[in-house]
């Protein structure tokens, strides 16, 4: 039950994009088409889950025993960058179809702040391994939900008669703000 709570808190109530405002660059960058946003979502779910698992281990088995918790930023960046490279090599050889489907998104995600944020937040909340896994699944699921919904909205915006001054990013920002307001309505759900 607690795991379910962690998942939904990350998925809806503290949605990484619309409530925490992390990883907004990719939110606006790859949401112009529905299929690219879906591709990006799957790549984020994949990378976020694996990288938060590895960075959890790095923190608890490498940094904590030496009392080097203050080094976590450098250590996590190192871990995530190496890990994404490794995943890319592995997929290219073993699952070329998946590699082609994720395409350019994999290396793009290396520098995505959401990945680093999840690694930090799971440590800050003092989650154990299982809980941090559920948490990162929830966050990446929330990321996918928000970006795919937003891509559908932008798809409609492409055909809408928008005043010249609002075309492009201005209306996208306004729409994202309205979506964020809507997600605020989830606050307090399930007593969280």
């Amino acid at each position: 039950m607690e795991l379910l709570g962690i998942f939904f808190a990350a998925f809806l109530i503290n949605n990484i994009l619309l409530i925490r405002f992390i990883a907004l660059c990719s939110f606006f960058g790859v949401s112009t088409k529905i299929d690219t946003s879906v591709g990006m979502s799957f790549a984020v779910i994949f990378v976020m889950t694996i990288s938060s698992a590895v960075s959890w281990m790095v923190y608890h088995y490498v940094l904590a025993p030496f009392h080097l918790e203050f080094l976590r930023t450098a250590a996590f960046i190192l871990t995530i960058a190496a890990l994404v490279q490794l995943e890319e090599l592995y997929l290219k050889k073993m699952i070329p179809n998946l590699y082609r489907a994720m395409g350019i998104y994999l290396p793009l995600i290396t520098t995505n702040c959401a990945i680093l944020a999840v690694a930090f937040l799971a440590i800050d909340y003092r989650y154990d391994f299982l809980r941090s896994m559920v948490y990162s699944l929830g966050v990446s699921g929330g990321y996918s939900l928000a970006i795919v919904l937003f891509a559908y909205v932008r798809d409609r915006m492409a055909l809408a008669p928008i005043p010249k001054w609002f075309q492009g990013y201005p209306i996208a920002f306004i729409t994202a703000a309205l979506m964020s307001l809507a997600f605020l309505g989830f606050t307090g759900m399930f007593g969280l």
């Binding site: 790095v58 490498v62 940094l63 030496f66 009392h67 080097l68 080094l71 450098a74 250590a75 190192l78 871990t79 190496a82 490279q85 490794l86 090599l89 592995y90 290219k92 050889k93 073993m94 055909l159 008669p161």
Partner: protein, 264 residues
């Protein structure tokens, strides 16, 4: 003390990851066919998809596997086919005929009669959904340039509401054919050089009321060159499988001048 441990731990961490990556790079190495890069360089690179593959690179992979012929790149034509044949070590194909896109409408901006003013979204697709954008003719070109927007080879320009095809640049990839909501663009053999610039299937009287240059199904072309021209559904159509027959007399006799040469 803490400085020393942090340097050592972070250094070791970096070293371990570097070693892992180095091992993985060796273990997961992919033998890539050397011809692949050469083939991709030869292909037009527009990723138009006319060949049936997802893009130029996908076509190159299938070519190496032997799933497609060197003449499979429709956009490249004879020139690319010859170069591909050289790379693949096969004989140069001779069955590549240049094909080009043509529009089956000849009504310029001022010749189009309208029944209503259209002020909606300025694309052919949107106009077609709203009663044909107010155009009297239910078959003719809408003139908002959807074909112009999708052409990956920059071969179309809009002139007086009609798309004009640059036949040197056109590669018959078929993107404009798919983009046109009225389905009045088609791909024909370039050597044939004749096209019926009308798609109206209205009766002759109705067409004449809507448009000064529409096909009125008078069948004069059919009498001049019966092997090539055929009037079906109130519209002259050309049988592009017949070659070596001169359509000249039909072009001259056409009363509404809707049969035209494409290289004019």
């Amino acid at each position: 003390m803490i400085i020393a441990t942090s340097i050592i731990v972070l250094g070791l961490l970096g070293f371990v990851f570097a070693a892992l990556l180095a091992l993985a790079a060796d273990y997961f190495k992919i033998e890539e066919d050397l011809r692949l890069a050469a083939i991709v360089a030869i292909l037009p690179g527009a990723n138009c998809g006319a060949c049936g593959a997802a893009g130029c690179r996908a076509f190159a992979e299938r070519l190496i596997k032997g799933e497609v012929a060197v003449s499979g790149c429709l956009a490249g034509g004879q020139d690319v086919a010859n170069q591909l044949a050289a790379v693949m070590g096969v004989e140069q194909p001779t069955d590549v005929h240049k094909r080009v896109a043509v529009v089956h409408c000849g009504a310029k901006g001022s010749q189009r009669k309208i029944k209503a003013n259209y002020s909606g979204v300025k694309t052919c697709q949107a106009a077609e959904m709203i009663a044909g954008g107010g155009l009297m003719c239910g078959y003719g070109c809408l003139g908002y340039g959807d074909c112009y927007c999708v052409c990956p080879f920059d071969a179309i320009r809009m002139s007086d509401g009609l798309p004009v095809f640059d036949h040197n640049k056109c590669t018959a990839c078929g993107k404009c054919v798919a983009a046109c909501p009225r389905k009045i663009i088609s791909i024909i053999p370039y050597a044939f050089n004749v096209v019926v610039a009308c798609s109206s299937r209205d009766t002759g009287a109705a067409t004449r009321k809507n448009c000064p240059v529409g096909c009125i199904a008078c069948k004069i072309c059919e009498k001049q060159a019966p092997a090539v021209f055929k009037v079906e559904d109130n519209l002259a159509v050309i049988d592009y499988t017949r070659t070596g027959i001169d359509g000249g007399p039909a072009i001259e006799k056409c009363p509404t001048k809707c049969i035209i040469r494409i290289d004019q």
